[in-house]
Amino acid sequence: MALLFYPEFEVIRNENRCIACRVCERQCANEVHSFDSQTGRMIADETKCVNCQRCVSLCPTRALKIVKSNCNFKENANWQDDTIKEIYKQANSGGVLLSSMGNPKPFPVYWDKILINASQVTNPSIDPLREPMETKVFLGKKPNHIERDKDGKLKFDLSPQLELSMPIMFSAMSYGSISYNAHKSLATAAEELGICYNTGEGGLHEDFYVYGKNTIVQVASGRFGVHEDYLKAGAAVEIKMGQGAKPGIGGHLPGAKIVADVSRTRMIPEGSDAISPAPHHDIYSIEDLRQLVYSLKEATEYKKPIIVKVAAVHNIAAIASGIARSGADIIAIDGFRGGTGAAPTRIRDNVGIPVELALAAVDKRLRDEGIRNNVSLVVGGSIRSASDVVKAIALGADACYIATAALLALGCHLCRTCQSGKCNWGIATQKPELVKRLNPEIGKKHLVNLMTAWRHEIKELMGGMGINSIEALKGNRLMLRGIGMTEKELEILGISHAGE
């Protein structure tokens, strides 16, 4: 007999409000709700509920609530409910536990322990509604000194740069792990905003080549969908060495998600599993990485910056130092709270380090070694708000990657069951009837709204500090103070404690 336990969530239906319109039934891909014609009432099978709240959102009379079940095992601070349930699941299945999206465990969030400065009396703050404020950034290798020609004119032959209207990009999510409509929303929003989105490792759908100047094309260990036109289509090329949610392992997109279009885009047979190896089989050293960086530069005629994306892990500073010497133009660091379409639970929840610490360590190391100008730094892995962005830039980042926040704007409710392929919000699914639930017109609008709001907030926060450009905020750690941190944490972050 299987080891069973009471369902994790309960469907609370207010019978006084339910009009049996059956919208919940039609909208639940997990088939939780059904209509009982004998009694004329809706009934629910809670064992299938993943708490994605699609039914709650669409119920016209607000008759529905999903609540966490309070039917718990006997209280135990060591053997907590989730831990016991995971044991039961594994005892039943014999399998590795899978999870999606970012690490939900209560690790410290350093963004929330950092406070931002503001001008008072001795230096003027700036009102962004009255005075110009620059949020544009350029990512890529910067010259170490100014060069002039014989007439004294400045020389402008810079390395290729990625121009962004604000220091935020949508980070890598592959077509396959997310839907066509989700990709279209990201691509069209990036175009309108003057920023970039990222193809992830799934190749670029032929319909989206038109958004090339706002696209970062990724080359990952599986090399899915990589060919010359693909590389040339993007504004930059990203080599994915690792992902914050699952450092050290590859990816596995199940065959069920490799439908016709995904198969064509990835250049693999329909229905076959897309397995990305854990390492790049041609990269075992910085020298090997350099070869791939320069192969991609050759392929793109040295016109596009090359990004190397790594997960934030121990010794990240030394790793970044190596990458900065490999010829890469941009380093992207993905913290351990970054999202994923599927990862082994144990890896997602226990591997990697917070991006705040990684960023501070990397920025310091590159400065100390005098190679900070070799690369731009982009950080991701749970950037949740405009204030996180401002803190990241003050810690030394040139720009941020966001993905979970972007998916939330598209409707994601963080139920963290992307791996099931039955996303009720039309995001992490390839089922046509679910994909069409995300109208890309609405998706684009929401993304543009979110980024516009964040841009306003970034300007307000900068203005408060008397800073009128992102460039002047970059690495300006004097604008940050820590609260409730140990000496060691403050030392790694390179900031003083509040009150100092």
Binding site: L58, P60, K436
Partner: protein, 142 residues
Amino acid sequence: MKRIFVNEEWCLGCHLCEYNCAFANSGMKNMALALKGKKIFPKIHVYGNDKINFAVSCRHCEDPLCVKACISGALHIKDGRVCIDKTKCVGCYSCIMVCPYGSLSVGETGVASKCELCLDNACGSPACVKGCPNNAIVYEER
């Protein structure tokens, strides 16, 4: 004149428009009180199958056949809208027979029922459009 248009590509077949329509025309303030336990008589109907769905309501034709066919003068044009005077309708259903789009239906009281764009009820603009979760029904000038 603004009319209701359907983007079948985005219709999820959730049928929310039917309930929003029935509620908007109920004259009541609370949807649960208005619709609970009742058979609804919406003026918009969702048709379809697993693959495709679309909502059908009055197109407010410039030269409407239903108005021509109406034997009692109940159907008439008001500011471009095709409206119905239910006190005049005798329930002959000629309008239902002639409408090429199948937009009219039999209402709760047995007389013909049709969409009047919610301009005469408390909603003020089409309730189906306001409540559509995926912009599958739009109210615009074309």
